[in-house]
């Protein structure tokens, strides 16, 4: 999977590494902004109220 990604990317070795780092940053940003806040309420900890 990642081997395929590496071969599919254009450019020299450092260029591909740069693209991958940028992609990773985007994934982290998307997770922190939307994905994790959406799944956090489903986690079995952190409830503080009685109801």
């Amino acid at each position: 999977m990642y081997g395929w990604l590496w071969r599919a990317l254009p450019g020299p070795r450092w260029g591909r590494a740069g693209i991958l780092v940028a992609l990773a940053a985007v994934v982290v940003a998307v997770c922190f902004t939307w994905v994790f806040p959406a799944i956090a309420p489903l986690m079995p900890f952190n409830d503080t109220t009685v109801d």
Binding site: Y2, C31, F45, T48, T49, V50, D51
Partner: protein, 278 residues
């Protein structure tokens, strides 16, 4: 392709490995599709599992660190926006000539404000046991997404307001999201809980602590532990999760109302003591 097909001239020993590598590359690519389907699937599965592990690690980082960063920033703004919550610790009027210093504490029925709309920040909490810098906003409602994850301490809707007869019940996170009640286990009987609204200080004293199941709603009843009984005293109740990083139980602190003061009468003596004197 075999090694024989490459035009091999070996002038020194450094060249052949490079040549061989260049030669091997297409051959490897050639061979890959022929790898067994099972092996390929296991390879992809392995990479997916590693990715999942990294994402779970990221989630932990987000939950334990980033939610605190965001919530602390937001809750500090909230305090600043109130305008009246940050006190410069000097305004106690020094009435030196009078024989007896006037005790600003009042034990009669305090003024009680009406319940505001959900998400409205209407009070702050100071707890001398948690240090002189502890200052958190209290907002209406206990919905996680609307109040607790963002605004800090939430007031159970329908319970008494500060100083009111009944049970002024609040909830907050103990870990993550700014963790307003992080040090709740340090509270001891007799400790002051100082609630401030725009006009009034309300000082409660910790009376008891208990650990209950999440379903035991009677802890926030007007008379804690006795649902349906008409209240005669002003109480305060804090609820948070227990044990830390778990939602199995709830840590409960009950406090009784001690005294009140108008905010323009200076700081309550309990805060003065926490600040090392006026």
């Amino acid at each position: 392709m075999t090694e024989q097909t490459t035009p091999v001239v070996i002038p020194d020993e450094a060249q052949p490995p490079a040549e061989r590598r260049a030669d091997r590359r297409p051959r490897r690519a050639d061979r890959r599709p022929r790898r067994g389907g099972v092996a390929a699937a296991v390879g992809v599965l392995g990479e997916l599992l590693i990715t999942l592990g990294v994402l779970l690690g990221l989630f932990v980082v987000w939950q334990l660190w980033w939610t605190d960063v965001v919530a602390n920033r937001h809750q500090e703004e909230l305090i600043a926006d109130l305008g009246w919550a940050e006190i410069t610790p000097t305004p106690v009027p020094t009435q030196e000539p009078t024989a007896e210093p006037v005790d600003p504490r009042r034990y009669d029925a305090p003024p009680v404000i009406a319940e505001p709309a959900v998400r409205t920040t209407f009070a702050t909490l100071r707890v001398p046991r948690w240090g002189p810098d502890y200052l958190q906003a209290i907002s209406q409602g206990t919905s996680r997404s609307q109040v607790l994850d963002e605004l800090g301490i939430g007031h159970y809707e329908g319970t008494a307001m500060p100083g009111g007869i009944g049970n002024f019940a609040v909830a907050a996170h103990r870990v993550t999201y700014g963790k307003p009640f992080n040090r709740i286990e340090e509270l001891q009987v007799g400790d002051a809980l100082v609630v401030q609204t725009e006009e009034t200080w309300y000082v409660y004293r910790v009376a008891s602590t208990e650990i209950v199941s999440p379903r035991q709603v009677e802890v926030v009843a007007p008379v804690p532990g006795q649902p349906g009984v008409a209240p005669t005293a002003a109480m305060m109740t804090m609820t948070t999760c227990h044990p830390m990083y778990s939602a199995r139980e709830r840590y409960i602190v009950h406090a009784t109302f001690d005294y009140w003061m108008p905010t323009d009468a200076g700081l309550p003596p309990d805060l003065d003591a926490a600040n090392g004197g006026a």
